[in-house]
Symmetry: C2
Subunit: 233 residues, 2 copies
DNA sequence: TAGTGGTCTAGACCACGAT
DNA sequence: TCGTGGTCTAGACCACTAC
């Protein structure tokens, strides 16, 4: 039906159109790659690339021999960027500031030790509490634990000058992270730092980061009342 | 150095190893695709595929002519799945239930009308308030507005029997969504539905969904105290 | 067992942008 | 200008799985 198109991106776009126009309805089997390659005047490799993108986005379910079907619940996962706080602040055009509020070396509580895979009788860890500022006002409060075994040199780092996270990014290999968000009533320390009443509803984000095998750091970041995290477009 | 490897996935794995072992450090220029293809005994196309994956994950910055560099802040965005609530409940092994609490047709408040692109003098919209249950207990409370112009037939749908979201997924094309999360104090309606005190800190998720051009639905979902959203592994 | 998607290859041309 | 990544192609083989 269609004349020669150009590139896998345009092919993917055409396929998306067919899906949300219901030319291809949820559950439907769509033509094979070979057939679409002929129809669109492209090679099978190009069609394959386009359809793999749609499958990764959640629009299609593909299985060898069984063919490609339109997904029943085409709801692509939402993606939230969780960048370095400095970058996040500067990207919205505000001046970044950083203030260390507490630094201590002591054995972490059991929950933290478990997340950092420090064993049942954990040695001392670095505990850092700091405030990130945007145009001089509180932007985020962070309460961080760092496993010195996984981050050699951190105990000598000047975490008053550079945020612990930036030091880690520059100095420690990173292989993965787990993130969660939730709502909590502000505790005394966060409330005072963020300038709100104790008990106010605030957004909290927990992030645990690993190197190859060991847990490197666990951080709880809390944001002032009203803060929202937005998905990427 | 290395014997023939197999496939772009293994090549990507090897490249990731070099990055977090600091064989390739942040800011470094890495060898060209052609050079790596020779070293790894693969074709350039295979190396290209692997490096494109790493670039999409945030590990590499690639530019024509300038070559490929290791990113300075390699922090891949966290991805949260935002599935159909029914699927979410069933995936954690609990029995799903749904209870309609309110259904009315009236002009939406200005903020909602704006998100749904209904203009300055919006006509009536469908307002649905419902509760999702897991093993009979409140799992999520949703307050939803639907633009009937973008969802023809919704006014005749039986939203007491099937959740409005499921009806929409089955009947209305979907082209994109915007999601945000935040923390709020529970209002009277949500508090009563979720069985908590007014003012308790609860997680809220807003989602606006569009068809090709028009806004289809805006929903605010609130979760019981303590609920957390987790990133995908 | 046969049909479908997943992938690799070698070669080619193009687009971008550093120099 | 010209080196680098981005992409297309045609052909091939393989892996999975419905039949």
């Amino acid at each position: 039906m269609r004349a020669a198109r150009r590139g896998w991106a345009e092919i993917a776009e055409e396929a998306r159109r067919r899906i949300y126009r219901r030319d291809w309805s949820p559950g439907d089997l769509i033509p094979t790659e070979a057939a679409l390659a002929v129809e669109w005047g492209a090679s099978r490799g190009t069609v394959n690339r386009a359809l793999q993108v749609l499958a990764a986005e959640g629009w299609l379910d593909r299985r060898r021999r069984a063919g490609t079907r339109v997904a029943l619940h085409p709801t692509p996962p939402a993606t939230f960027a969780v960048p370095l706080t400095r970058d996040e602040v500067e990207r919205i055009g505000r001046r970044y500031g950083y203030a260390l509020r507490r630094r201590e070396v002591l054995a972490p509580p059991p929950g933290i030790a478990q997340r950092l895979e420090m064993g049942a009788a954990p040695g001392p860890a670095l505990h850092v509490v700091a405030l990130h500022l945007a145009d001089g006002r509180p932007y985020a409060h962070e309460d961080r634990w760092i496993n010195p075994a996984a981050a050699p040199g951190i105990l000598d780092a000047d975490v008053a000058a550079v945020s612990a996270n930036e030091w880690l990014l520059a100095n420690v290999p990173y292989s993965g992270a787990s993130v969660s968000v939730g709502a909590e009533a502000a505790g005394p320390e966060a409330a005072e730092a963020l300038g709100c009443a104790v008990g106010t509803a605030i957004l909290t984000m927990d992030r645990t980061t690993w190197a190859t095998a060991a847990g490197v750091t666990h951080v709880r970041t809390t944001y002032p009342p009203g803060h929202r995290m937005w998905s990427l477009p």
